[in-house]
């Protein structure tokens, strides 16, 4: 039988932006009915497919859990294309198909100093992470963003833990942000570093984190069709050279477990491939 963590049709409860800046920059919160999820971990995600996709938009969209209460499941969405535009325009009562919670979330080590590094909408999974952490005094957040800070739920997160933000506005800012990350990472030898954001950001964090002697986890955003490990579309090469499904074995991985982030030379993609569409 399909359990409570199966696939359900649920209604949207509310949608709203953090501020007028959020609206202007396409950053939205979406709350839907909780279909009975009891166990969810920060870093896990769900697949969401509005009924309005019809047959035109094929795949559901993967979104990190931003908050789970007995009544509602919340997401924080950045409009990136047609699917997220649909999602960010849903109104209370509109229906969508949702399955989850999926994948593996971030490690929680209450007594280890833990550095949270977020880029843009990669901030989303850290809201529930902070909320559930037993020792918020051991957490520190560095958040890099392009749209104005007010577009993000940063203030609420910064109220409970030590947090700083970095606004990337002009080309040279990226270097300054990288320098800031390196400086913070230096304090985390043997500490835990959790990163979520664009892939180049994750790669930089993995490199600098390794140099600093930190243990690093990264959350990947590979393209996903099924979210359940069946299509083999989302795979990533692990350090042993095996291709693993990021939707079930991730999306959160220890950086050292992945070929692209373990600091070794990346082995070129397999060439045994085949011309057919299977």
């Amino acid at each position: 039988m399909a359990d409570a963590g199966g696939c359900r049709e649920v209604a949207v409860l509310s949608r709203g932006a953090e501020s007028p800046e959020g609206e202007r920059h396409g950053l939205w919160r979406l709350a839907v009915e909780n279909p009975g999820w009891t166990k969810a971990v920060a870093g896990q995600f769900a697949m969401l497919r509005p009924l309005r996709f019809g047959r035109e938009l094929t795949w559901a969209r993967p979104l990190s859990l931003f908050g789970v209460t007995p009544e509602r499941v919340e997401f924080f969405i950045q409009v990136a294309g047609r699917g997220t535009a649909h999602l960010a325009a849903m109104n209370p009562g509109d229906r969508l198909v949702m399955w989850g919670p999926l994948g593996r979330g971030f490690a929680v080590e209450p007594d280890t100093p833990t550095l949270l590094l977020a880029g843009g909408v990669g901030l989303a999974p850290f809201a529930p992470y902070i909320a559930a952490h037993p020792r918020p005094d051991n957490l520190r957040l560095v958040f890099g963003h392009r749209p104005p800070l007010a577009a993000y739920p940063f203030a609420k997160m910064a109220a409970t833990i030590q947090a700083e933000s970095f606004h990337e506005e002009k080309p040279g800012d990226l270097d300054r942000f990288t320098a800031l990350l390196r400086e913070r990472l230096a304090d985390y030898a043997n500490g835990l570093v959790l990163a979520c954001g664009p892939r180049p950001f994750l790669a930089a964090v993995a490199d600098m984190g390794r140099a600093a002697g930190a243990r690093v986890q990264v959350s990947l955003e590979n393209r996903m069709a099924c979210g359940v490990g069946a299509c083999l579309g989302c795979v990533e090469k692990d350090a042993k050279g095996e291709l693993v499904q990021t939707c079930v074995r991730g999306p959160v991985f220890w950086a050292r477990e992945l070929a692209a982030f373990d600091g070794g030379l990346e082995t070129p993609g397999s060439r045994e491939g085949c011309a057919c569409g299977n």
Partner: protein, 304 residues
């Protein structure tokens, strides 16, 4: 209509809904979303003799009403499948169909030999929509003579297992391939595999798949698939399993109306992972509404 079961060439299905190869993993991935025992059949991801890594990333792309894939037949290899996956599938209740992939006829035969010995395998599905490495990479399924040779080779080693040959739509005359494969001893035909296609991104000037070309599936291909099934059903006497773009109970019945005994559902499993389970439940009320009392009375009765 209460009795949904069908038997085709010795393959018994409790209902005509089979999940298509490559879209349902090894089956177990979906046990959280429905009762695997409720399905008519489960066709597993294409198996090769040795494990395969497949193609470079990205290997899937969304397209209007469908998707492209160039997974490159990544799989755990037949040995691991038989040892680690098959024992956990409910094969006494639901037909487990092994989908075979190989580079030449000899390898296909060897694979068939391995699987013929497995009690849990109900039938073999031969994927001939892949390149014949020995023949410079032309697809087995694009040449009636080559398709026939693979069929014969598999049939010889398949023992009592029904052999189903899966046809490619990327041909000029699909009925000709179907007839050649029937003459070579195939027990069942399944069709269609994906349509060859591609997608590009004008801003990056790159193809959306690392492999450049991939296979199109989903609702976008249903009219082509239906036409193929219609033509093949009229050309052969062996039973046919139809697929390509099925996304509702009505879609499934369209394939049966043009002559198919059963259907496979693929990309729709990505629309929602409980799709196949829901389809099984949606068939009886729809058949009721249409006043259908048995498959025999409905199958192949398209009025033209």
């Amino acid at each position: 209509m209460r009795e949904l079961s069908v038997t085709l060439a010795g393959l018994h299905l409790k209902n005509p809904v089979i999940t298509a190869s490559g879209t349902f993993g090894y089956g177990l991935e979906f046990s959280r979303y429905g009762d695997l025992k409720a399905l008519g059949g489960i066709c597993v991801k294409g198996l090769s003799l040795a494990p395969r890594q497949g193609n470079p990333m990205p290997r899937v792309a969304e397209t209007p009403c469908g998707m492209l894939n160039a997974i490159g037949l990544q799989n755990c290899g037949v040995e691991t499948f038989v040892r680690d996956k098959l024992p956990f599938l409910p094969w006494r209740d639901t037909a487990v169909i092994a989908n075979l992939y190989a580079c030449d006829a000899e390898e296909f035969a060897e694979l068939a030999g391995v699987l013929a010995a497995e009690e849990g395998i109900a039938a073999l599905e031969v994927n001939i929509s892949c390149p014949n490495v020995r023949a410079g990479g032309i697809l087995f399924g694009q040449d009636p003579a080559m398709a026939a040779r693979v069929t014969e080779a598999v049939k010889k080693r398949a023992g009592i297992k029904p052999v189903m040959v899966k046809l490619s739509p990327n041909v000029t005359d699909i009925a000709a391939v179907a007839r050649a494969v029937e003459a070579a001893g195939a027990d069942i035909l399944s069709l269609v595999n994906t349509l060859s296609g591609m997608s590009v991104d004008v801003s990056s000037r790159r193809p959306r798949l690392a492999n450049v070309i991939g296979g199109l599936s989903g609702p976008a291909i249903k009219p082509v698939a239906l036409r193929c099934v219609w033509q093949v059903c009229r050309a052969v006497d062996i039973p046919v399993i139809g697929m390509g773009g099925i996304a509702s109970a009505e879609d499934a019945l369209e394939f049966i109306l043009v002559g198919a005994h059963a259907v496979q559902v693929g990309t729709a499993n990505f629309l929602r992972p409980d799709f196949a389970f829901r389809l099984v439940e949606e068939l009886p009320p729809l058949l009721e509404r249409l006043g259908v009392s048995s498959w025999e009375e409905f199958r192949g009765t398209l009025k033209v």
